[in-house]
Amino acid sequence: MAPALALIGLFLVFPALWTIYLGMTDYRLTGLQAVDPSFVGLDNYGRILGDPAFWRSLRLTLVFVLVSGIIGQSLLGFAIAWALRRLTGWLKSLIETLVLAAWVIPASVSSFLWIALLDRRGGTLNEILGTEGTAWLIEHPMAAIIIFNVWVGTAFSMLLFSSALAAVPPSQLESARMAGAGGWQQLRDVVIPNIRGHILTNTLLITLWTFNTFTPYLVTAGGPNGASEILAVYIYNTAIPGGQLGVGAAISLIMLLINLVIALGYLRVGRARQAKPADATAAETAGGVVKPS
């Protein structure tokens, strides 16, 4: 117990406290404040909350999480898992390998591939579409990093849902089919109630990862002029190239708090679900299956 606590203290509590302290100073990477930072209290927070760039970044992050994470990765991952559930043999392996490949390629490599694809001069996409000179990464930066992130991260949802689908009792599906339920009805009334826990876990993880991801920096660097500057990138740009380490720490703390809120929210939903366990699901299932449509 004691060593574990010491480790947590060293690697979790201390950095967190240190971040809180730094966030209340005007510490900078260079200049006088680098040697002799002074305590500025909550000034940084006032500045951040009054800065339109922060609110824009927060808004972009929410769009990014919602579209690329929750909708894109989860839905696409589920759709692939659903489509592949009865496939076997080489085709299934092929598709799974392709999706997984996007996940296992190092991000520095895959981001380079995407830049090469979308580049304004001689980019592959422009060659294919015959739209020479279109600067995709500048004209549609958010769309670019959203699609990029869906491409990178779908594999996780696919794997998770594949195993979840395999655990749906075949007997329930069988009786649903006997009762005349179509594919959509089976999905809605049998499968989803059975994998609700997986959906919750998957959404929680995807939300947190997408919220915190830094990889889009490698594709657009937050540009042009901040148009794709999601929070993690905004912090980096403020703290390191911008040199404002104190302000960066303050935004980090805000981001940490948002993370906590998200996690607590999901946990609450999870607990409410556990409070009235299996019978609720079973009832829904039963009710659903017999319901004619």
Binding site: T220, A221, G223, N225
Partner: protein
């Protein structure tokens, strides 16, 4: 899975922070070899086959072997390593600052003169004589370098580094495109209007961007130095004068107005300003004959479009015939800073000693060696540049008419950036103002927003009352 992702992200972050780890790693623990063997390291934003290739080749192929041989002759076992970089100046600066902050870094570091103030205030670098010892003050090289040249690497009247040269800015133009548009090959505009007229004529040519005036934050200091500041100097306004910063002035509104005209009339390519590699792309486009007029420093002539393919990053085989250069006109004759008809900005890079060096005196020996007349003669043998040393300039400049032109006509009209620690932040605010104008904001609004940003950086008491 969670940890896996986290580790991946963390690794990435460090990889993107520019191979920081690698650079730190090689800086440490190599100094104390066995039997008195000593290792010194040099770093610069120069790389063979890429950015500033001539400097990189010179360090690797001449400085290092010659210095090692000289030391070996004196009975010292010295090894010199060169850590090459070839990235954007902003990224390089971040890496150097992080190196120095953590007490690491190469023994000799190439930096831009404009970083000296903020690095010195942070204690990352120290006056040369404090680091290198008495030998610094008695060095013969100082007598060969003018005050103006030395000031590029000084802060509060103390020398922090040895300057690497002097430079100036001009307008480059493509004579072939000018001929096609019916413009004179020997072009000498005397006002902004004449530049704009030429650009409008060029806009009749297909696939040609008439003028490239750097804007936006993606180009970093290149936007300020090869864009807004020379334009601003042409209005007679400076960013900093008489101990105060200038905010929303008529001069700034006029300068931003020029941006509004160029990008509003589509005489420039607004997208190029936002590309991550916009500046390099502008070089490539000029070299390919797709840009008519470009405001750049002499660096562009000697290191970018240099016909020698091992030196130029966008070599132009017919550079000497096709590329013209002319002084940057003030807004109108006589309207420039100090009543000048033509303006330019002077910068300057140099090399500092790392205060964390384990062998500071030997490092100074190496730095002095790199700045000896012999070393500079060798440095400019393949590609002439204006050196900081008068004795070398007198011998070598005559062989290159462009650099003679810069030395004789441009250097005397140079304005300089304020050597203050806040300047780099102010510079970013200036870049943001140009970005806003290119994006469609009115010059008045952008200038007002700049003043607000300026007050946030330097404090209200340091900003001159509005004009």
């Amino acid at each position: 899975m969670v940890t896996r992702r986290r580790i991946l992200t963390a690794t990435l972050a460090s990889v993107t922070t520019l191979s920081l780890v690698a650079a730190c790693g090689s800086g440490e623990g190599e100094g104390e070899g066995d039997g008195g063997a000593v290792t010194l390291t040099i770093t610069a934003n120069a790389i063979s086959g890429g950015k500033n290739a001539a400097e990189a080749d010179w360090i690797r192929d001449w400085v290092i072997p010659e210095f090692e041989a000289a030391q070996a002759e004196a009975g010292n076992d010295v090894t010199v390593e060169f850590l090459e970089e070839g990235v954007d100046d902003e990224d390089y600066k971040t890496k150097i600052a992080l190196d120095l902050q953590s007490g690491e870094g190469a023994d000799i570091i190439g930096i831009d003169g404009i970083w000296v103030g903020e690095f010195a205030e942070a204690g990352y670098i120290a006056p040369l004589s404090e680091v290198g010892g008495d030998a610094v003050e008695s060095w013969e090289g100082w007598d060969q370098m003018s005050e103006a040249v030395q000031s590029a690497m000084s802060f509060e009247d103390q020398r922090y580094g040895v300057p690497q040269g002097a430079d100036g800015r001009v307008l480059y133009y493509n004579k072939e495109l000018f001929a096609q548009a019916g413009l004179p090959e020997d072009w000498q505009p005397t006002s902004w209007d004449e530049v704009l007229e030429a650009a409008r004529s060029l806009s009749s040519l297909d696939g040609v961007v008439p003028i490239q005036l750097n804007a936006g934050t993606a180009m970093g200091e290149a936007t300020t130095m090869q864009g807004l500041l020379p334009v601003l100097a042409g209005t007679g306004q400076e960013v900093y004068s008489e101990g105060m910063w200038n905010g929303d002035t008529q001069g700034l509104r006029d300068a931003l107005g020029l941006y509004a005209t160029i990008y509003g009339e589509e005489l420039g390519d607004p997208i190029l300003q936002q590309e991550a590699a916009g500046r390099d792309n502008s070089f490539a486009q000029f070299a390919a004959g797709e840009i008519g007029i470009l405001l750049e420093g002499d660096y562009f002539w000697r290191s970018v479009i240099n016909p020698d393919e091992s030196i130029g990053t966008a070599p132009m085989a017919n550079r000497d015939e096709v590329v013209g250069y002319t002084l940057i006109p003030a807004q109108s004759p006589g309207s420039g800073v100090e009543g000048r008809d033509f303006v330019s900005m002077g910068g300057g890079t140099g090399r500092v000693l790392n205060p964390n060096s384990e062998h500071p005196e030997l490092a100074w020996e190496l730095l002095a060696f790199m700045n000896s007349a012999e070393a500079y003669t060798e440095r400019v043998a393949g590609t002439v540049s204006i050196t900081p040393r008068d004795d070398v300039n007198a011998e070598v400049l005559a062989s290159d008419p462009m650099l003679t032109f810069v030395s004789e006509n441009v250097l005397p009209i140079n304005s300089y950036r304020p050597g203050l620690a806040e300047y780099p932040q102010v510079s970013v605010a200036l870049q943001e103002a140009t970005a806003a104008v290119v994006d469609g904001t009115s010059p008045e609004d952008a200038a007002a927003a700049y003043e607000e940003a300026l007050i946030g950086i330097v404090g209200e008491e340091n900003v001159a009352a509005g004009s």
